[in-house]
């Protein structure tokens, strides 16, 4: 018979739309409006999973996002399969496929249950005391075993095919939660049509507790009618946005709140391409938190059996989903709210009785009301244990005398239990906002005490449980958020409130061995918490981490206060003295997709390309990433690997002419009457005497004396300089300059402008460089006397205005042709054509690196690491010696920077010429020294030099310059390589080739 536990009448499900789902091997019928949980319960299915550590059979505990147990694998078809979904939140639809988790081979017979038998060996923190010996077993035994056994659920195996959106919104009032308090707040806040109000609720239907309240009246009408009217009012107002299925999951600075809106998970066939979720970032002028409260379970032996649930959740399944959670229901409670549930359950025609720990005298009007209705109530009784294993079959209860100890126990039969240990206001978002909580002994809860941001809480989330009080509270909060001091009052049926806090149900000694659960998802028992205290953990933060209570995906919504109370009781301290742990986002799990939005795949990072990029791509170049830039790495011809291509390119540059795209180089134009003075202060060397039309290499330090960047400074005019920086350093250098111009020397009249993207730069290098470009040049005399090495001139190339720099990073005579970026490709092609008679060869960044290394030219960030001084790099000559102040000057005299033993730039030639060292390899003097050896330095750059027919390397070595001629040892993958320390310039040390 389908849906044997569906009640004939009632509920908000749509009986006209039956649906068919799958759970493991069974087909399940249900109705539209069901959650996966209510659909399973309607079919009498309680066993839905196996617990995390002990693999105990588990059922559904709750009805909402606080559910710790019923985590299912959800398959929505079309490649969308996701683990660890709470069955209470998954909306059922036709064709939904669900699987239980954490069990093998089946849910009924799970081999993992052996953990339950050896429970005392795997109690809290067991992994801190085990898996230590023997050490060798770690790699091959322990780790593989633990990896297979640990975790929950199976990770998806295919990339997420869905799309996710991001949206930013601003509003005057954000109301979180659309229960009675939140609805009243939203209505009050939006009365003024100019106030933009956003109301969000995590559930599919707004209404919160009103959705399962079939007996209360509000302002003279049934709660359901009041709800309908409230929603209609809000829908009518243009200034209100109501977001359903939207969880506010993070509260950040300055009223910045993140919401996750679920758009299509509830649809059997969403429109293709429709975004699955939308991440909202809301900046709200004021916030009203109406996030409700969570019920606490009770702690007694085997309280985790399938069928043992929360009392209010039973009420929800009966009233809202028309589902009978069982046929013989027992409520176990220390408070009044379970009686409301019992009354509704009895009214639905189900067999229900109540066991209340409180004595008659401690109860309120709920006692008489229930007895009048004919519900058996046993006051002054505790629960010793639940019976049954795959399903609860009964409870062992016992009277509790004045001494507090239980008397003899007796068994009562039942197939469903509703636990109610009181209520915990949901203060997660308040805490995230950095508000301070205060413990209220009357509510036995931490309530919002001091706000830090323009926000206030209303309703159950601040300990108010009476319906009319919640409505009034919400209205007042909403009005205040909109800047008004008066708000409307409501009348409503009285709510049964009040509970007696109990940390663990009184029990006799014999039940100590059984497991009484506190945190269901992480399998933490009362015994574990006591163990933690016994082992010396007193801070709640330590207890949390040692036992993992509150650390599961439910963030302890049903367990935190219970755990806290137990720890306080065990320590003999008051609850506020123990304190709470920190609440962190997300309030409930959020998909990675929601955070990523469109920022994935090709859109993850912007790609920067040069004007020559497409030409290089067509020419078959391989590219490398330099920051966000794509740079041509090498240009392989048919049959060439990288080694062969680079060897050919290097030979071509040194024997003929090579052409290289240097457009990514940082460029800054520094202009103004004080431009030269500014450059004098920002570089180590002086530029006052740099002539118009000349270039000079400059070294830039930070105030601590370490090399920060380097480049070539060219003077275009008395008050105008064009300087270059490293590719990665351009924004940093400009920022550095602006910092000094704006905050240290605001009196200097200087403008610094980034021109990196405005100029394409084409390097033409080699003995035939001049002949290659000469035919294209107008207005510049390329003769050695008029345009020597380190000079620049302005003219035209291939008809395009250009700044022609005679500079070299290769050690060959050559140029860097700067043209406006839009003309970059055209000029590149013109130079290629013009250089064809000389066999002009495109070369990439790998060749560029080899050629400069052969000349001992450093690359900032490769040879330097932020701790090298000019002298370390052998560039001490660039440091001005006079009185002129420059950034970093004072630091160069710091004791540490002039000490002996500093790492200095050297060259290394391996004893075996074909052996190429690894970049980053460490250098030692003697391989027979005991480990750990003293390391003298490391290899910074290492290449095969085609021109020398052997390997070369640059390195930084302690007292390197004094070690010239010494043989040192460099680490390799298999041992050490011997290498001789040499001068770091391997080719043409006197630089004659520059002036060819």
């Amino acid at each position: 018979m389908s849906q044997p536990f569906r009640l004939a009448k009632g509920g908000r499900i749509d009986r006209s739309r039956p649906i068919l789902m799958r759970f493991d091997d069974s087909e399940i019928t249900a109705f539209a409006g069901d959650t996966a949980a209510s659909a399973l319960l309607a079919n009498g299915i309680h066993l839905v999973g196996r617990s995390f550590k002990y693999h105990r059979p588990r059922g559904i505990l709750a009805h909402g996002s606080e559910e710790p147990n019923a985590l299912l694998d959800v398959d929505r078809g079309r490649g969308r399969r996701e683990p660890n979904n709470r069955a209470t939140v998954v909306e059922a639809f036709d064709g939904l496929v669900l699987h239980s988790q954490n069990r093998w081979p089946s849910l009924q017979r799970d081999i993992g249950a052996i953990n339950d038998r050896v429970g005392s060996l795997v109690s809290a923190g067991f992994y801190y005391k085990t898996f230590m010996w023997p050490q060798m077993a770690w790699k091959h035994v322990y780790e593989p075993l633990i990896r297979r056994a640990a975790g929950l659920g199976a990770a998806p195996a295919v990339p997420d095919p869905d799309t996710y959106q991001h949206r930013h919104a601003h509003c005057d009032v954000l109301v979180v939660g659309a229960g009675p308090a939140g609805l009243a707040a939203a209505i009050a806040a939006s009365e003024d049509a100019r106030a933009r109000v956003i109301l969000c609720d995590e559930q599919a239907e707004p209404g919160g507790a009103l959705l399962h309240d079939v007996t209360s009246e509000i302002d003279g009408v049934p709660a359901a009618v009041w709800l309908e009217r409230a929603l209609a009012t809000l829908a009518d107002r243009d200034n209100v946005t109501v977001l359903g299925r939207t969880t506010a999951f993070g509260y950040f600075n300055h009223n910045h709140i993140a919401l996750a809106e679920r758009l299509t998970d509830h649809l059997p066939s969403p429109t293709p391409g429709a975004p699955r979720e939308r991440l909202w970032q809301v900046r709200a002028h004021r916030v009203v938190l109406a996030s409700g409260a969570h019920e606490r379970p009770l702690v007694f032996a085997d309280n985790d059996r399938p069928g043992v649930m929360l009392a209010e959740s039973l009420r929800v399944y009966v009233n809202r989903y028309a589902v009978a959670p069982g046929r013989r229901i027992v409520m176990v409670t220390t408070g009044a709210s379970a009686y409301s549930a019992a009354l509704d359950i009895a009214a639905a025609g189900l067999d229900v009785s109540i066991v209340d720990l409180r004595s008659d005298a401690r109860c309120g009007p709920e006692l008489a009301a229930s007895r009048a209705r004919g519900i058996p109530v046993e006051t002054g009784h505790t629960v010793l244990a639940a019976m049954g294993r795959m399903r609860v079959t009964g409870l062992t209860i016992a009277p509790v005398g004045a001494s507090g100890l239980p008397g003899p126990g007796r068994e009562i039969a039942c197939d469903c239990v509703g636990m109610s240990g009181g209520w915990t206001p949901s203060v997660h978002l308040f805490s995230q906002s950095r508000g301070a909580l205060g413990y209220d002994p009357d509510a036995d809860a931490f309530l919002p005490d001091r706000s830090r941001q323009p926000e206030r809480s209303a309703g159950a989330c601040r300990g108010t449980y009476d319906l009319s009080a919640c409505l009034d509270d919400g209205a007042e909060a909403g009005a205040a958020a909109a800047g008004r001091t008066t708000s409307r009052r409501h009348t409503a049926s009285a709510t049964l409130v009040g509970f007696q806090p109990v940390r663990a149900m009184p029990r006799s000694g014999g039940v100590e061995r059984a497991k009484a659960f506190v945190d269901f998802q992480n399998d933490v028992t009362a015994k574990d918490l006591k163990l933690a205290v016994r082992e010396g953990f007193e801070s709640i933060e330590h207890v949390k981490r040692y036992t993992t209570t509150g650390m599961a995906t439910d963030q302890g919504k049903t367990s935190n206060m219970v755990a806290l109370g137990l720890v306080a009781e065990t320590l003999g301290r008051a609850v506020p003295a123990v304190g709470t742990t920190t609440f962190r986002l997300p309030y409930t799990p959020v998909t990675f997709g929601a955070f990523a939005g469109q920022n994935r795949g090709r859109l993850f990072d912007p790609e920067r390309t040069t004007p020559v990029h497409d030409w290089a791509a067509s020419a078959g170049a391989a590219f490398e990433d330099v920051g966000l830039w794509k740079r041509a790495w090498y240009f392989p011809r048919a049959g060439e690997d990288m080694h062969a291509a680079v060897a050919r390119e290097c030979r071509a540059v040194r024997s003929g002419v090579g052409i290289f795209d240097a457009s990514t180089l940082g460029k800054i134009e520094v202009a103004g009457p004080d431009a030269a003075e500014f450059l004098n202060r920002i570089y180590t060397n002086s530029f006052s005497k740099l002539q118009h039309g000349r270039c000079r290499y400059g070294l830039m330090l930070k105030e601590d004396g370490y090399i920060f960047d380097d480049g070539v400074v060219a003077r275009l005019a008395p008050d105008r300089f064009h300087l270059t920086t490293t590719t990665g350093g351009a924004p940093r250098v400009l920022a550095h300059m602006e910092d000094y111009l704006q905050t240290v020397w605001p009196d200097l009249q200087v403008f610094a402008t980034s021109i990196t993207e405005q100029w394409a730069v084409i390097a033409v290098q080699g003995p035939k460089a001049r002949q290659s470009i000469a035919p294209l040049i107008e207005g510049i005399d390329l003769a050695e006397e008029t345009l020597p090495h380190m000079a620049l001139a302005e003219g035209r190339i291939a008809g395009i205005p250009c700044r022609l720099f005679r500079v070299s990073f290769t050690g060959e005579a050559g140029y860097e042709v700067n043209v406006p970026a839009d003309y970059g490709r055209g000029v590149w092609e013109a130079i290629h054509a013009s250089g064809k008679p000389f066999d002009i060869t495109s070369y990439g960044t790998e060749t560029m690196h080899v050629l400069r290394a052969e000349k001992g030219f450093i690359i900032v960030g490769q040879e330097t690491d932020g701790t090298m001084t000019p002298d370390d790099m052998g560039l001490g000559g660039l440091v001005g010696r006079g009185k002129r102040d420059f950034v970093g000057k004072r630091s160069l005299a710091r004791p540490d920077l002039i000490a002996a033993g500093r790492k200095q730039l050297v060259g290394l030639l391996t004893e075996k010429p074909r052996e190429v060292l690894d970049e980053g390899a460490q250098i030692v003097t003697d391989t027979s020294l005991p480990v750990p050896m003293r390391m003298l330095g490391h290899v910074t750059s290492s290449y095969w030099s085609e021109c020398l027919g052997r390997s070369i390397a640059l390195a930084v070595v302690a007292d390197g310059r004094q070690r010239r001629g010494q043989t040192l040892f460099v680490t390799t993958a298999s041992g050490f390589a011997a290498a001789k320390v040499v001068d770091p310039v391997f080719i043409d040390p006197s630089g004659v080739r520059l002036h060819a």
Binding site: N253, H254, Q281, R434, T743, V744, R890, A893
Partner: protein
């Protein structure tokens, strides 16, 4: 995401700015006269208070100007923002 009031552009989200550390630390005019310890103090030592902190910010993705701010390091509340070169506003010192 902090909401920072740039003195030139008004309130803008934190992502447009970069923080430059403690404010009102003047680069010593005569560094040569300073001992190594005093110079190290200028380079490396900062007040690091719990509470109100005068610091420098630059509106990097906006007007690109540096300015000063007083921010409470415990609550992240911005007490004041003011132009580079101006003095810390009275009443923004010490404990809130």
């Amino acid at each position: 995401m902090l909401l920072i009031t740039c003195p030139y552009c008004g309130p803008r989200p934190e992502i447009e700015f970069r923080c430059g550390g403690e404010a009102h630390i003047a680069r010593p005019a005569d560094a040569e006269a300073l001992s190594d310890a005093a110079w190290a103090d200028y380079l490396f030592y900062r007040t690091n208070p719990k509470g109100r902190h005068a610091e420098r910010w630059i509106h990097q993705h906006g007007c690109q100007r540096w300015f000063n701010a007083v921010r409470d390091t415990a609550s992240d509340a911005f007490v004041a923002t003011y132009r580079m070169g101006e003095k810390r506003p009275p009443g923004t010192e010490g404990e809130p």
